[in-house]
Amino acid sequence: MSKLKFGVPCSKIKDFIEDVEINCSTEEEAMSIAAGVWLAGKEPTVYMQNSGLCRILDHVLSLYHPYEIPLPKLILSIRHRPHHHKFCGEVTRNVLDLLNWKNVEITEQEK
């Protein structure tokens, strides 16, 4: 079962997350577990919808960056619809750039 994947599911990435280790209750939880897994010498992957990306800003900026823990590989869905996803969808790629998150596999919904 040790697939080193931690996150919160999204229907848009469900084909990539059939082999996960733990489906977490929150994206912050996934990020904190992934930090521990990296400290244990492994390379974790996290997965989430872009709404979750907005939730984890603090863990990126006050856990990963100051301790110089490499950001895990991120499997991310970018949603634009229905309407409540529109605003997060518009800024998601800017947020990734601001966080300097390089290792990202994106599944993007049509606008």
């Binding site: 992934a34 521990g36 856990l63 301790y67």
Partner: protein, 157 residues
């Protein structure tokens, strides 16, 4: 009991466990009581300490002991539920409960409305401590130094 006296008792009995401490004064007090490379002081990212402990316990054989405040655990209460679900034999949590946000002026938390050991009955202990600050100095190490020596300790051959 004062929190720092509780921490002294805990750290007196620590041998080779990895110790993860939550942000704020708990990290400061553990640093001043018994600093060691196997301690990881979470300075910032409130709510992250137990998740870090779970990640470590999943992928090392070492015993992991998380020392967290009530505010830290309340901020990521779902992770306490996850701890109860996973029941990892090498993970232990001690919640030092002062019923307040000690680092920000002692504002009350909601911890008096919950029994953490009913949420997590596996290796979870709550110690009620007085809301009195010891005034010990800050952790005198950079984040990077803490990470590097801890990483080397966990991953030594």
């Amino acid at each position: 009991m004062k929190r720092i006296d509780s921490i002294k008792q805990i750290m007196d009995n620590i041998t080779d466990e990895l110790v993860i401490t939550s942000t704020g004064k708990i990290s400061r007090e553990v640093f001043n009581v018994k600093d060691r490379p196997a301690n990881f002081y979470v300075m910032g990212s409130m709510g992250a300490s137990l998740g870090i402990g779970i990640g470590l316990a999943l992928h090392t054989k070492r015993n992991v002991h998380v020392l967290a405040g009530d505010g830290d655990i309340l901020m990521s209460l779902s992770t306490l539920v996850l701890m109860n679900k996973l029941k990892l034999s090498n993970l232990k949590l001690t919640i030092l409960d002062n019923n307040c946000f000690g680092a920000t002026g002692g504002q009350r938390t909601c911890s008096d409305a919950v029994d953490f050991t009913k949420i997590c009955s596996h290796n979870c202990k709550v110690i009620s401590v007085e809301p009195i600050e010891s005034g010990v100095p800050r952790v005198n190490l950079s984040h990077k130094e803490i990470m590097e020596r801890f990483y080397n300790e966990v991953n030594k051959k």
